[in-house]
Amino acid sequence: MARSYQDLLASAREQVPEVQVPDLASRHASGDGPLVIDIREQHEWDQGHIPGSVHIPRSFLESRIAGVARPGTEVVLSCASGQRSLLAGVTLQDMGFENVASLAGGFQRWKQSGNDFDVPQTLTPDQRSRYSRHVLIPEIGEAGQIKLLNSKALLIGAGGLGSPAAFYLAAAGVGTIGLVDDDVVEASNLQRQIIHTTDRVGMNKGESARVAIEALNPDVTVNTYPYRVSRDNVLNLISDYDVIIDGTDNFPTRYLMSDASLMTRVPLIHASILRFEGHASTFLPYEGPCYRCLFPEPPPPDLAPSCGEAGVLGVLCGVMGNIMATEAIKVLLGIGDPLAGRLMIYDALDMAFTELKIRRDPDCPACGPNAQLEFRDYEAWCSGVGAHTAAAVAR
């Protein structure tokens, strides 16, 4: 027997309980509200929705509900006027959800009753298309993508590590990317520094990276700083950014960035490379260990050759730079487990990842409870004089 829309609605109303707006509003205000799932279309959601509600368009309800609720979860479905949500309630009941209700009058009544509602910052249609594979991931979604677009990452060095990291962060839609590098592109960089090109040899690396990033993603604002980071400028540089990506090639800058990260409490994503081996870690100031907990003192120059002296597999930069980009995105979004308190070692010859534990050093001169952190002469310290003197004193 054929059944009309009104018939379906009537039987749904018998089957699915309805929640009244004032009841939902008072539970919402007390912080004890049920999970509200808004099943309207994207353009309706964009014009305003109940704060804290989750958006799953009706046509995706069956396929996506498991990502946000279990059959035992108390769920209130909401649409524009409370009809589509009734029908959706039947669907959830069929799927085993026992505690499901429909918001009577829907969002219209919620809004007309004078309740607060959110009008979200939304992605443009172009952005929705560009970032669709991110938006599909529950841990990112549209809100996460907007967060990335509002985020700022500062890359120290646009070389082996900075190139892939900056490229992928730009593709991911990190809205502001700062590039600190006083160096120019050389032919010998192009075996690994993939953001640069042959026709840009001689150009400042930050400016060369800007050309590539602007061609890739017009959403990204690129700031270039064509000078070396130093004690005098580092705090100013960092203060505008949410995360630091340290892809420099020397110890003085590594220790400087570690200390500056602690002073400003901006997370520091670390990686270093040589030949076939890479190290990576994420230093969250005062939450986990810092770089100096891991390496209290720099090695003498003869034990610390640069890639220019000892060589590096070009592809290795891609692996390690993208571990950095991954960590930066996780830190910016606040998702997953960062590499804090862990040092990841990648051996490309063995194709093996090894993880070592890093503990906070209670006597750390940089982040320990009794530390009196101030900048030092990193160049002198790392050139060996300071280190050996300190070692002699320790002996």
Binding site: T248, F295, E297, P298, P299, L303, A310, L356, A387
Partner: protein
């Protein structure tokens, strides 16, 4: 027997070997066994007084031996000792 993993910067002192199989029941004995096989490594890891340089980290499996019992830390058959100097390359 246990294995010592040699970092890239020390491989010129081990004839290019990336891992060295050693005997010894403690970290100190394992390092002595390493120095017997590859004497040039000693000066790079140790001070003349026999302490490990502060810029060298040694891990037994995934733990820093500084947080265990230092050179007296017991080493079991099949353990891996990793020598880890800092790298700066980028």
């Amino acid at each position: 027997m246990s294995t010592v993993r040699i970092p890239p910067v020390l491989r010129q002192s081990t004839g290019g070997e990336r891992t060295v199989t050693v005997s010894g029941a403690t970290v100190g004995e394992v390092l002595d066994s390493l120095y017997e096989q590859h004497p040039a490594v000693r000066a790079q890891l140790q001070t003349p007084e026999g302490d490990l340089h502060k810029f060298v980290n040694v891990y037994l499996n995934d733990e820093d031996v500084r947080l265990l019992s230092w050179l007296d830390t017991e080493v079991a058959d099949g353990d891996t000792l990793m020598i880890l100097p800092a790298m700066a390359g980028g």
